[in-house]
Amino acid sequence: MKVLKLIYKNLLRHKLRSMLTIFGIAIAVLAFGLLRTVVTAWSYGVDAASADRLITRHAVAFIFPLPYSYKSQLEGIAGVKTVSFASWFQGIYKDQSFENFFPRIAVDPLTIFEVYPEYIISTDQLTTFQQQRNSCVVGKKLAEQHSFKIGDIIPITGDIYPGNWEFTVVGIYSGKDKTADETQMFFNWEYLNERNRQTNSWATDQVGWYVLQVDNPNAAAMVSETIDALYINSPAKTKTETEKAFQQGFVSLSGAIITSMEIVSYVIIGIILMVLANTIIMAARERIREYAVLKTLGFTSSHVVGLIAGESLFISMLGGAVGLALTFPVCKGFGDAFPTMFPVFAVQPMTIVLSIGFSLLVGVIASIFPAYRSANMKIVDGLRQIG
């Protein structure tokens, strides 16, 4: 306990230096935590993907639509439980600013909440959504961000599908858990199709992709092969894959950015390791005579190592704890600021483990050289140092 007291008192010897080092480590751990959270948030869709959902899209590219007529054929395939579909609508809400962007998707109101059971909506609201052609439902987070209420009309200027569009909010869905995306707006695909018949005939009776719920996730590969084989000779060939693989495809488009962010997060840890190592080396060098005195009194090299490593670990772990404590509110603020970019922005348990682990590792590594040098220092050499 007295050694701990000595460590504590040594820390207070140069208060500003200790505080700056702790602050530096805290900032580094915060930056690491934030970057890791961005990386994990980026691929949240992959993690949140359901094993019993398949996505069938155009074999050439996601942007090409598939015929609506495929729906009844897909429903007839063995192993397929439910078939839903959707089309990316896009459009402009108010302006093209980032804060006014959110996913607007035309869906099948009869099946969407069946294939996505993680989205919770009241029966009344769902019934209205299914019955009212120009209705829409919005996620809870999106509703909070834009103050959408039931009965509000959301005006959208179409771009892919030109024209002025108005959607009446008839429901607000919430996620079953934190991984569910609450930033989307769903509206009735029939409404889109009806308007397309009048003004955008090229897009009539087309859907963006199909979402299929299968009876048995283990049979997903077989079902996928059956579907794609069915349309192998049709003008609109399909590519069917698990929802996870589908999401992974999106994430891989940003692979270089994510990899860069991951590298930067580790570089930050490396930099702070140098900073702490420098601090501990300076401190140990200043106290070399004191360590020699302690050894003269009968303290062993292990005691000296304990003092140096203890101080290094205390600084790194305290900095790590402060950084980790700051990571939560900062990530929450970041997530709140970019709700549609990062529908799920939460510090993952692995990020916490890595932050603590790196704090510990940095503390240990930073103390190795000064501890080794001080432990192996001859007492007579240490006593000759000018204190």
Partner: protein, 225 residues
């Protein structure tokens, strides 16, 4: 009186790269228990080196050093550290107190290596601080004490674990005359009243007069007076 420190044919050679620097040459010396010995000699004569060898913080190149029946030249580093904590009380020229610890905490340091209870440690520290006349300054930090007071704290630290030998390396070398006199009186008291064996290196003939015996070292060789 029985012999407490027995030095036989000790030689110490320092090596700097390929250069060999002989510091002590074939030294033999016996120090009886209860002795107050002063080692004198010019700079570079090997006084401090001999003191370091006796206190087990350095090892001889050849020869044996037996202190209280133990040939310390044969002990391992860790055994030597333990041995020092039991047998040696070291008083340095520049006090070498821990600046972040109070006088009480500095004196308590050697006791952290013992199995004494908290109460026993407290009693011991209070007792030795009283012996050196600093019982009212126990909560003061070194920078709040004069040089003489710091050296008295260092002496308290040296005697708190009741060592076999007190080693003083120029203990008055950094003090004014009055403070130096107080330290010498204190060392004499420790020797006469508490029967402590003291080996002290000094440049100062006046300081050496406090000792029972003076040994002169010159160019690494011992000349008895």
């Amino acid at each position: 009186m029985s012999t407490l420190v027995e030095i036989q044919n000790v030689t110490k050679v320092y090596r700097r790269d390929t250069l060999e620097i002989p510091v002590l040459q074939n030294i033999s010396l016996n120090v009886p228990e209860g002795e107050f010995l002063a080692l004198m000699g010019p700079s570079g004569s090997g006084k401090t080196t001999l003191l370091n060898l006796i206190s087990g913080i350095d090892k001889p190149t050849s020869g044996s050093i037996i202190v209280a029946g133990t040939d310390i030249a044969k002990l391992s580093e860790s055994a030597l550290a333990k041995w020092r904590s039991h047998h040696i009380g070291f008083v340095f020229q520049f006090y070498n107190l821990m600046p972040v610890l109070t006088a009480y905490e500095n004196v308590e340091l050697p006791l952290l290596l013992t199995n004494l209870s908290k109460k026993e440690k407290k009693e011991r520290v209070a007792m030795v601080l009283k012996v050196v006349g600093l019982e009212d300054r126990m909560d003061h930090y070194p920078k709040q004490l004069s040089g003489g007071q710091q050296q008295r704290v260092a002496i308290a630290r040296a005697i708190v674990s009741d060592p076999t030998v007190i080693i003083g390396d120029e203990p008055t070398g950094d003090l004014d005359r009055k403070s130096a006199e107080e330290i010498l009186i204190l060392l004499s008291r420790l020797n006469s009243e508490f029967k402590k064996t003291i080996i002290m290196v000094t440049h100062d003939p006046h300081a050496a007069e406090s000792a029972h015996k003076i040994q002169h070292l010159d160019k690494g060789e011992l000349n008895a007076n």
